[in-house]
Symmetry: C2
Subunit: 132 residues, 2 copies
Amino acid sequence: MTPTETVEAFIDAWNRCDVDAVNNAFADDALYHNIPMEPIHGREAIAQTVTGFIVGADAIDWQTHHIAANGNVVLTERTDSFDLKTGKSASVRVMGTFEIDDAGKIAKWRDYFDSVEMAREFGLGPGDSLGG
Amino acid sequence: MTPTETVEAFIDAWNRCDVDAVNNAFADDALYHNIPMEPIHGREAIAQTVTGFIVGADAIDWQTHHIAANGNVVLTERTDSFDLKTGKSASVRVMGTFEIDDAGKIAKWRDYFDSVEMAREFGLGPGDSLGG
């Protein structure tokens, strides 16, 4: 797969709520950084956060508006929507960068969004954590 | 110029604090949307906002970490830094999408960042406006 295809498959795995496929997409020493929050280091720690997001949702729909690659780096513009198990829905406007290693795994993932929009959409207060 | 070169020249114009070059980069009916805020329609309204940012700075340094194009759409990952005339400095982590028209002008520009980070860096309270 090309780096772009790797990212498209990753987003498709989110949209299937496929926890294993999402978690298997990361390199062992991957970095996942939701820019307004602290970065998460390593596949196991990332899996905890990612699994929290997925098991909290009845359905996930990430729409990719634009995707472009430069070598092994893939940039995306998306709207990430979740039907939450609480009965609410959440939708966040996001851009994200993915750096793909030679084995086709995600080595680095950085997502940029407004933390106020994220907190509002997920119904969180300032002290609550996200997906943890 | 390719769409990527157009965006690189635009960022370079910001880094020279070149108000005219920045404003001339937009199509007449351009859309500028800092995602956490309301979109700004049209070259004249955009010029007001953009000029406000530039004349408020002694120096501007936007670092482009990654840039990738898909047709006429160019995606960027940046850190946008300003030495403000107030004596403070401000630095915001940003991703932005640029849609370039056939004349080589910016038709649409969408920047994604955390509004909390932006307000903190620019020393603004919740009721203050940015760059206006």
